[in-house]
């Protein structure tokens, strides 16, 4: 019997706001988030940037696991949850309490997509992340697989083992494996749009058009006077 607790429980109201971007590699989400951060800073808001897989202590273990091919779907899932949990406790929640605008490049939805493609139980991984604060808004940059692949493969020739999903044996050719892996991740993202109410952004449009839409979407959630954001 399931105990019912799952991701989505932690809706505690914080003084700050949390905005996150999701999408497959090559969707342009990181570019959009960087532009958003610059704009928010220029408007005087305190901005904290949080990146997937960046906890200083946990990262050493993750890279050891990746370098030596030690990671299985289960330990891949757990080590990323460890990293995320450390960032939630030590970076994201304290910043939200202080009234900052926290911007996260990838969030729990990345884990839900990747881990499930690797064969991890979808209910289990959603329960694993139940401590995660639910973002104010979560933007999903939707892009057709071929467009994303063109963007990635044009500029970066060397794909990594886990990034290409070689660990689950989809194909012996790394490029083919990467294509198959990304297409399955795309499917998992699409199931999450409904499940979690992600805001879908059409990521085939020009960068500046997307950026205008993104700014318009978050503006209503911002405190009126930027100067007061930290002091209150």
């Amino acid at each position: 019997m399931s105990s019912g607790g799952t991701y989505g429980m932690n809706r505690r109201p914080y003084a700050g706001q949390l905005f996150i971007v999701e999408g497959i590699d090559g969707s342009g989400k990181s570019t959009q988030l960087t532009l958003l951060a610059q704009w928010l800073r220029s408007e005087g808001y305190p901005v904290v940037f949080s990146e997937w897989n960046s906890s200083p202590i946990v990262r050493a273990t993750t890279s050891r696991g990746k370098k030596r091919n030690l990671l299985t779907p289960l330990t891949f899932s757990l080590i990323h949850a460890t990293d995320f949990s450390d960032r939630v406790e030590r970076e994201i929640v304290p910043s939200l309490k202080a009234g900052a605008i926290v911007l996260a490049d990838r969030y729990v939805y990345t884990a839900f997509a990747r881990d499930v493609v690797r064969g991890v139980n979808p209910r289990w991984v959603r329960s694993l992340y139940r401590f995660a604060p639910v973002p104010t808004r979560a933007f999903y940059f939707r892009v057709p697989l071929e467009v994303a692949l063109r963007r990635i493969l044009a500029g970066r020739p060397k794909l990594k083992w886990y990034e290409a999903g070689m660990d689950i044996g989809l194909h012996s050719d790394i490029l083919e494996s990467y294509r198959l892996f990304q297409s399955r991740i795309l499917t998992e993202y699409e199931t999450q749009v409904q499940e979690f109410g992600l805001d879908v952004m059409d990521a085939t449009r020009p960068v500046e058009v997307q950026q205008r839409e993104l700014r318009a979407a978050i503006r209503p959630h911002l405190p009126e006077r930027a100067e007061g954001a930290l002091a209150r």
């Binding site: 105990s3 030690l70 299985t72 080590i79 939630v88 406790e89 139980n121 209910r123 329960s127």
Partner: protein, 241 residues
């Protein structure tokens, strides 16, 4: 306690019916003498002709270094520590325990998910959540719980002259003004949680206040009974922490 059983999900791409060995867990608080008793048990089983393997906390290839490093600085969030231990456990489960069980070994495990669940709950984790995290674990053939009360435990620490350990005293929390006070409060809570898990999961409790020979005799006889009952069928491996 109204904690509901967690959902069992199994280990991705492992067929539990292939695991013909025995998974024997020795649980108990820090300083109760688990290492001594596992050594004696191993020698006893090998005399009987069983192939024996062992594992214990933070002995994983993947995460043991990282955990050691994180403990030195006490710089990892408390919940992240819970998940780091779960990562270490999962790595040992997949790369040590499962292969040994597949080869028909008796796998002696120095503590299992129960101690990890207990330490997480004492540090404020939601009991439902942490039990769910371990939903991938295998159900042991038997759990032997070496039980001592906290006063006896403290006496052994003093007798051993190794002193009170920072983490075994819960000083990361901390739970008292000094090491002794925090040790007493922390271990009292850990023992409470182990007692609760013992009731929920049907541990064989062994009174660890007695002589080493008496305790070892009871433990060896208990394990012998489990092994004589035969090899586990696959369905018996489904766990509900």
């Amino acid at each position: 306690m109204n904690t509901m059983a967690a959902e069992s999900i199994g280990i991705p791409s492992v067929d539990p019916t292939e695991l013909s060995g025995w998974l024997i867990v020795v649980e108990g608080p820090d300083g109760v003498g688990r290492t001594t008793h596992i050594d004696l048990l191993r020698a006893y089983l090998e005399r009987q002709g069983y192939a024996v393997a062992e594992t214990g906390f933070t002995r994983s290839d993947l995460a043991s270094r990282g955990i050691r490093r994180a403990k030195q600085g006490n710089t990892l969030g408390s919940n992240a520590f819970n998940l780091f231990y779960a990562t270490d456990f999962a790595d040992r489960l997949e790369r040590q325990i499962v292969p040994a069980l597949r080869s028909g070994f008796v796998m002696l495990t120095d503590r299992y998910i129960y101690s990890l669940i207990a330490r997480a709950i004492v540090r404020g984790a939601d009991p439902d959540w942490i039990r769910n995290v371990y939903g991938f674990s295998l159900k042991p053939d038997a759990v032997f719980y070496l039980r001592l009360d906290v006063r006896e435990l403290a006496r052994r620490v003093i007798d051993s002259s190794r002193g009170f350990d920072y983490w075994e005293s819960g000083m990361d929390l901390p739970m008292g003004e000094d090491l002794y006070e925090s040790f007493m409060n922390y271990q009292t809570r850990v023992i409470e949680e182990l007692d609760r898990l013992s009731r929920d999961f049907g541990f064989h409790t062994i009174d660890a206040t007695r002589d080493v020979e008496d305790i070892s005799g009871e433990l060896c006889a208990g394990v012998a009974r489990v092994l004589e009952a035969g090899r586990a069928s696959g369905n018996g491996r489904v766990s509900t922490p």
